[in-house]
Amino acid sequence: MFRKVLIANRGEIAVRVIRTLREMAISSVAVFSDPDRTSLHVRMADEAAHIGPGPSAESYLRVDRILDAARRHGADAIHPGYGFLSEDADFAGACESAGITFIGPSAASIRAMGSKTAARRTAIAAGAPVIPGTDHAVTLDTLRAFADAHGYPVLLKAVAGGGGKGMRRVDRAADLESALRDASSEADRAFRSPDIYVERLLERSRHIEIQLLGDRHGNMVHLGERECSIQRRHQKVIEECPSPLIALHPEMRQEMGQAAIRAARAAGYYNAGTVEFLVDSDRRFYFLEMNTRLQVEHPVTELVTGLDLVRLQIEIADGARLPFTQDQIAWRGAAIECRIYAEDPYNNFLPYPGKITRLTRPLGPGIRLDGCVYDGWTVPMEYDPLLAKLAVWADTRDHATTRMIRALREYDVGGIHTNLGFFRQILEDPEFRAANLHTGFIDEFFQRRRPPEPPPDLATVAALAAALHTATHKPPAATAALETGSRWQTSGRDGLLR
């Protein structure tokens, strides 16, 4: 087994990997940019290497500096996390050339699945159903021909990447040209490739993905599905396992699982990976893309299957055989995950980095929290706004939902804005409770939602707390009031009020 593993990442996923490494008695090496010197992954790791200034292009995306750090610290292997270099075939190749194990699939598999159109071709060849679309980058002419043939709406997508970048919905022919131009330029900025392809847009479809795990000896199993239909700006914000749709139609798990395994096998895949599908309202599923890495939302699969995917990734990278067969995988209960972001849901979800001045976390039965924050940490403005992933497990989806609402109420983060309150509104929404999920859910939710009505007396207590706080902390606006009022009896209380 490896003696030391470098994590080529930051934030919650670096912390997540460090935890499993520690449980396996493997030393961990964190890497960090200037603004991450006091980030939790650096504090928690056994070793730490500085790899450059804030911009990712000068640190977390620098293959040379990361490999140099790995050599200097004597790491046997590198875990790439998600994002950054995790789906960069050249990085995977460079690791292997340097004699350092890349904890993930082969560079060749990443190449076969990294281009979205190449992945489509691989999936088609493996017999997986795909959404009608083009298997190569489009020009304006081929785009127009496709849209005329298949009808609107259509969805433009970047050939080179995901995460919503370079994605555009087009509802009519008049918008095609400008949408292609915008998408192409956004894709160029995000992935250094302007190539765009097109698919028919399936309205009110569900995003359901299959977690795969394969060893280097040709064995592969699926670990069931995750439903990630709750998305904002084409990015997942709530994920669950099992999918409520598949819980009603359990035969779909095996069908989609087998389709995913066929597509991955066609790419010679091993280690952990995920095949994403769209499922239409007639429960037909279509291959969307494959992510050749661990996913953000892997904890819901871990909670329901009882497996530690990071441990399995490491063992597989070390050459181990899968320790189970398909029929030994069991799913128990239901898990839901919310992605807690530093953003302001009351101001168009704009990012809101800054210093965390107060932090209370949910605890107790069925709670799992993977995060990278601590009280006093300044959330840097250079990176993703993901602060933590709050996941819950319970015996049923309904119990998991009420548990998540309970947990969100216990969770308090001061000093910055977060989307905690937004999640509570979604989880209390009758459509969510009824599991009527689809990728347009949040847009419709914004149209039907009523502002939440606080219970009586909450405004009274808020006013009282604000008045007492003003009297004690004397911000400028209230100074005059204090000067004319009599002084508080502060004896015995000052100590509590730093």
Binding site: Y352, P455, A465
Partner: protein, 169 residues
Amino acid sequence: MKLALTIDGREDTIEILSRPGGHSPACRFQLGDTPAREANVETPEPGVYSVLLDGRSYDAFVEDTPTGMVVTIEGYRFEIEARDPRRWSRKTSGAGADTVQSILSPMPGKVVRVLVAAGDPVVPGQGIVVVEAMKMQNELKSNRTGLVLTVPAKEGATVTAGELLATLE
């Protein structure tokens, strides 16, 4: 002590008739002209107020913001401004409020591009400044035809939420 309050945009007053402190956590207060009430208030953590009112228990988290306070209770959030009722309302922001557009940063971040200079003519929708945080760029636009008055924003500078980036007239 009496304070004028703006709670989520609604005006009210609160008078603290007797304050918690020393050995007694009892606090009498009067909201507007409703009857006076008594609460039991402790401060278990800085900025956290544990309030027992009519047998119910509330944990209120209070945070100072540039314009007042945000109070969070049971996950509900209240924006509150408190001031001496005898002072002039802070709402009166002086002359020129209608004739000048202030471009404020909508989030903490970094100024990545300044697209105009003082004296430039602008048209509605024209980009003025681009602020970036956490990989998201935000282009702030003019809402009028007019001239750029001032541009305090500097490329590469770090700004807080609500910080003035430019003024237009």
